[in-house]
């Protein structure tokens, strides 16, 4: 633990040096102190349990990762404090949407009174459960039982492979690939062969993140929990829903955005599934795919002579059915946004793209897609959130995680472990992993939406 604190004390001033316009001895000292404080929060809160006797390298690894995270967050907070002190207030004022002239001049308590109902609900029903999720994840405790045992990182380490060196190496390789691809991208000119190589490298680097996570999660065996299958199922179903929903949504929107007679009526008939619930989507597709009474199985065998396996016993069929039902439900939402987005693309450009038959596809790729990239990016994140959480109801009606957990995605597994098996601690640990995934996606959204996506026309 001491090593971690010393490293934080050294890296703190380095961060200040990197990000500060006016570094001074005082600020370096503050950076060092704050980094140590941030790093010390988690080990102290957990009673330094990860450094007790009988802990493994994996325990230490988790502890150091949390210390690094704590130091990093503390430094970010310090930096924003410095920025305010340096008079970079304009940005934050624009962010909070302050009006330029005055505002109400009343007692200091008035705005707090207006905000208090919102803040109380957010504290009691979001911040408090979030903190409790973290504390629960370090315990073994049964639902409804008052007793609990502290297990430190035990609920987490059992989800991962046991070799600490591999656990360090895999994410480092993925991060290295991402920075390498970004470096290559910055060095290459658009339109050259080198840029094409950089594009490929970027895709490979992104995929390497998924591969690294696959390798890090435990395949099971011994005392380990087989979390790798849950990860694979979650990735397959999420990617399937997002791809189906977004490509389908864009295709239909591109068909429907033209100004023709009765256009708004068509639009209503295309976007209404937005109002359908994930549970009802599950019920409707439960009927279609039902092995005995459903129209799908019947049509396939009586018209095409194909005997379709029961989707509740066949992994591929089960996953496809879930993807189809969820993708269908989110289609309306995507069409709605893409229709709004297509209105902002220059009409002349689109008509040129439509009329020039020979290269319609090329023009679509070169003009329409880039113009839609902010919407695409926004939808990517919302669809991903949908695929992570809302899919629960659809799965519960169609497959209940069957066959053999092949449709048990992360959120379904959390409820199965935490509620149905009553194992709150283990369920909470899985929740923390999903939480980390959501935070990663959101941060990626915040960073990317600021820099790389084209906001042409807005």
């Amino acid at each position: 633990m001491l090593i971690g604190l010393i490293v934080a004390a050294i890296l703190g001033p380095l961060y200040v040096w990197q990000n500060n316009d006016r570094p001074s001895a005082k600020r370096y000292g503050l950076g060092s102190a704050i980094a140590v404080l941030g790093a010390a929060v988690t080990p102290i809160a957990m009673g330094q349990c990860a450094f007790a006797a009988e802990t493994t390298g994996v325990d230490h690894l988790f502890a150091y990762t949390l210390m690094a995270g704590g130091a990093w967050l503390a430094l970010i907070a310090l930096q924003s404090f410095f920025d305010r002190a340096d008079g970079k207030k304009s940005e934050s004022a624009a962010m909070t949407g302050e009006i330029r002239t005055g505002g109400f001049r009343m007692g200091w308590w008035v705005p707090w009174a207006l905000l208090s109902p919102t803040l109380i609900v957010l504290i009691v029903f979001l911040y408090l459960p979030a903190i409790q999720t973290f504390t629960l994840s370090t315990k073994l405790t049964r639902l409804g039982a008052p007793k609990s045992v502290d297990v430190c990182f035990g609920n987490f380490t059992e989800l991962f492979i046991t070799d600490p060196w591999k656990l360090v190496a895999y994410p480092l390789i993925a991060v290295g690939l991402i920075y390498g691809a970004r470096f290559w991208m910055n060095r290459s000119e658009p339109g050259t062969l080198s840029r094409k190589g950089a594009d490929v490298a970027t895709v490979v680097a992104m995929l390497s993140v998924f591969v690294a996570l696959y390798a890090m999660f435990s395949p099971g065996g011994g005392e380990q929990v087989a979390y790798r299958p849950v990860y694979v199922t979650t990735v397959i179903i999420s990617v399937g829903i997002v791809a189906f929903g977004m490509i389908g949504g864009l295709a239909v929107a591109y068909l429907a955005f033209r100004r023709i007679r009765g256009g708004s009526l068509y639009r209503t008939f295309l976007i209404w599934p937005y109002a359908i619930s994930p549970a009802v989507a599950g019920v409707l597709f439960f009927m279609i795919f039902d092995p005995t009474a459903g129209i799908f199985t019947h049509t396939m065998s009586s018209v095409f002579g194909i005997d379709v396996p029961n989707y509740r016993h066949n992994a591929f069929m089960a996953q496809s059915a879930i993807i189809l039902a969820s993708g269908w439900k989110i289609l309306g939402y995507n069409i709605l946004f893409y229709l709004a987005g297509l209105q902002t693309v220059s009409h002349d450009q689109i008509e040129a793209a439509l009329l020039d038959g020979a290269s319609t596809w090329q023009r679509f790729v070169k003009i329409v897609l880039p113009a839609l990239s902010p919407i695409t990016f926004f939808l990517l994140v919302t669809n991903l959130t949908y695929a992570f959480f809302e899919v629960y109801a659809t799965i519960d009606f169609m497959t209940k995680g069957a066959p053999a957990g092949k449709t048990s995605v992360a959120i379904y597994e959390i409820i199965r472990v935490g509620v149905n098996n009553g194992d709150l601690g283990r369920g909470a640990a899985q929740s923390v992993l999903l939480f980390a995934a959501v935070i990663a996606v959101t941060l990626w959204q915040f960073r990317t939406s600021g820099s790389r996506v084209s906001y042409g026309g807005s």
Binding site: P117, L122, V419, L424
Partner: protein
Amino acid sequence: MAGAGLSPGVQKKTFFRGRQWPYHLSLTVTAVVIAFPLLYAALIATQNNTEIFAFQLTPGSALKSNFDAVWFGRDFAGAMWNSTIQTFVVTIGKTVLSLLAGLAFVYFKFRGKWVVFFFVLVTLMMPTEVMILAMFRLVSGFGWQDSMLAITVPFLASATGAFLFRQHFANLPSELLEASQIDGASPLQFLTRVIIPISWNVIAALFVIQFVYTWNMFLWPSLIIRDENKQVVQVALQTLTNIDGALTYGPLMLAAIIASIPPAIVFLLMQKPFMSGFAIGQNK
């Protein structure tokens, strides 16, 4: 993104040049394909099991008995009522709290505003689902199991709503405030007499989004509400998968359709203000 609304009239009124019938045809086909699951469910809802297993493609004879099984046999009406109360409490409560928060963010200067803003912003990446086990324990600890409080109070505040109004208010002309300050209006009078009358589009957009979101909620009520009489409609559908020990398709499909009527009506009735308010919400 000016003029991003879907309402015609914002853009020039030229219809697409060229032959129109291929587009009418392909749009009709697409609409039918998208509607297929619902049309199929509507067909099944009129049939009894014999007709279903015969794959009869015409309306069956059992609509009345299916309805009786759903509405009276399983007290689906009770579940619809529970969902209605839940949805109106959450939707109206959330709109009011979001309006107040937006008012405080835009029309007041106070120490620590930036911290509060950040505090609310962070909740955007805290979906209820990832902390659902802790929340289950917490809310059970309040003794709110099987109570309407459990499915309304936790959802009364939202960062989305607060930020939607904050952004909308910030784009309103500041002369509005000056004028009403000269008149000596209080913040609440300013809100109810000046702001709300010109903000119905944004309010409608939030109303539709929150109505659909709350009505369609499944996971949380399925955990915290165990008493069938207190259950909301999405979860109550599950009791219909099995009637008298057998799988009954007709009542289930009919119930699914009935459960979808309220959000569909709200969505259709408020489509226009929703679209324009939604364009404002997108206008960063």
